[in-house]
Symmetry: D2
């Protein structure tokens, strides 16, 4: 059963699911998801969403999750930064695809933790991704252990 997390109100997007026989696997392991509004500007000269823009989609979901977990924009004041990014691209995203980023917390350890993502487009898996975020001291900029309360809150987004 998904952990009870305040999922943001839906952004219902009029875009078409490309087909009715989607290959999307069971998403039960992801306690959080965020719909993404694809923009014309996201496309590159190949007519698909640019590979770097996928990273902005992940960031969008991450920011929403963060705000949802830590209550408002001040939450962004918690000093984390992206330490590592991995994206496996499975299929292109088109302008008219309905897109949603599924997110969960992977491991939390010492001074860092991971978010794991599945990017859904047109009812299919468009990408799988992982970001590792590191906690830093605001003054020194050095890595520091994650605050225990922050960690406990993050762990509510781990798969049950």
């Amino acid at each position: 059963m998904p952990v009870s997390v305040s999922v943001p109100d839906e952004i219902i997007i009029r875009r078409r699911r490309r087909n009715g026989t989607a290959n999307l696997p069971d998403m039960d392991g992801y306690p959080f998801s965020c719909p993404i509004q694809v923009r014309w500007r996201d496309l590159d000269a190949f007519g698909h969403v640019n590979n770097a823009t996928f990273a902005s989609y992940l960031e969008m979901a991450r920011t929403e999750a963060w705000t949802s977990l830590f209550g408002g924009r001040d939450a962004l004041a918690i000093p984390f930064f992206v330490k590592r990014l991995e994206i496996d691209y499975r299929r292109p995203i088109d302008l008219d695809d309905e897109v949603r980023v599924w997110l969960r917390v992977g491991e939390t350890r010492g001074a860092s933790f991971t978010f794991e993502y599945t990017v859904e487009a047109g009812g299919e898996v468009a990408a799988e991704a992982v970001t590792r975020l590191a906690c830093v001291d605001k003054t020194t900029g050095k890595p520091v252990p994650i605050d225990p309360d922050v960690r406990a809150t993050l762990e509510t987004l781990q798969p049950s």
Copy 2:
């Protein structure tokens, strides 16, 4: 009365309207509107949505209107390009603002026409803008008169 145009299904965004005493004027003159999902990546180092990103918001609304009017993505094959852009910035847009672009067609003449926009953020006017689009021949790249059917369809988005 707004002209009957197929407005896309809503993208309901959880973001807060900043205040209850919005200064937003009567939007009856705008037959079309498009909610915009603000992304973390839209912000610049001042912490507000970057001035150039407003132009992408206009483009988002324009693309949605175009698709709505001309039926699907193939509509994008109609060769128009942006000839002139004007934006008057009224107030900054923040990450947690609920944003909507209101759009109408202004004048249509010879080989070009205008879209007029009001960008709403947090229940207030964040910007007013105009884009002039020119019709070109696909082969020669030269300006050509707007096709009469295209013009008639565009005019359904003029204020009544």
Copy 3:
């Protein structure tokens, strides 16, 4: 004669000027210019530099001019914001175009002033543009008169 302004060291870009019979007018009226490195990501699905990206090119030139005038990044602390943007698009910019933004200060008045730009691409005028910037008080966010020293420095970028 151009006012003596410290123009940044060149960014010499390998891109081709498209033709040898450029239509570029005399640029003597512009005391400052900034070469722009076109990126693949700047293109949209039409294969040309996206219309909103032109605004980022202007901003690039503006930031460089600002830094050049006011000495380093702290100069960015001077609280101005973009109040109005106008761009007239003359021809598309391609990935392999050599691009340069020419900039001058137009009028300075009360609490605002203008930058005027010509965007050169492939030896031709790709766009002409104006931005009006307003000076604000950092604490109140209200418009305030431009500091006289700032104004005098800006005026060194007016055409002689």
Copy 4:
């Protein structure tokens, strides 16, 4: 000894190297590099270059290398797409950092090959990255073996 590859003419950027005691390792293993012009728009609300923008920097270098290897823009017609992206972020990039992306070809196998990158900023390593690109058939969109001539050309960018 670096393989003799036509490195594009330099883009010399006026930005400062932050310190004289750079930790940048020996870059002899990278036969290609591309200077990057950092833009104001690349920064996010934290005041550093956004994590997704690093992927655009890689793409910039990749596009330049590709054009350099395969002779002009038509080279872009060779149908490859990004299959996997990995970035390890080592330090933030600031607006005034001199940035350069170093690039080499890693392994080439069946229908895919890798580019390996080091992103230099202010004389230090700002990121290390790998992208795997897959070759596809234009008509079917299915992976196909890399053309032997393309492979041989790519291998000139492998470390000697």
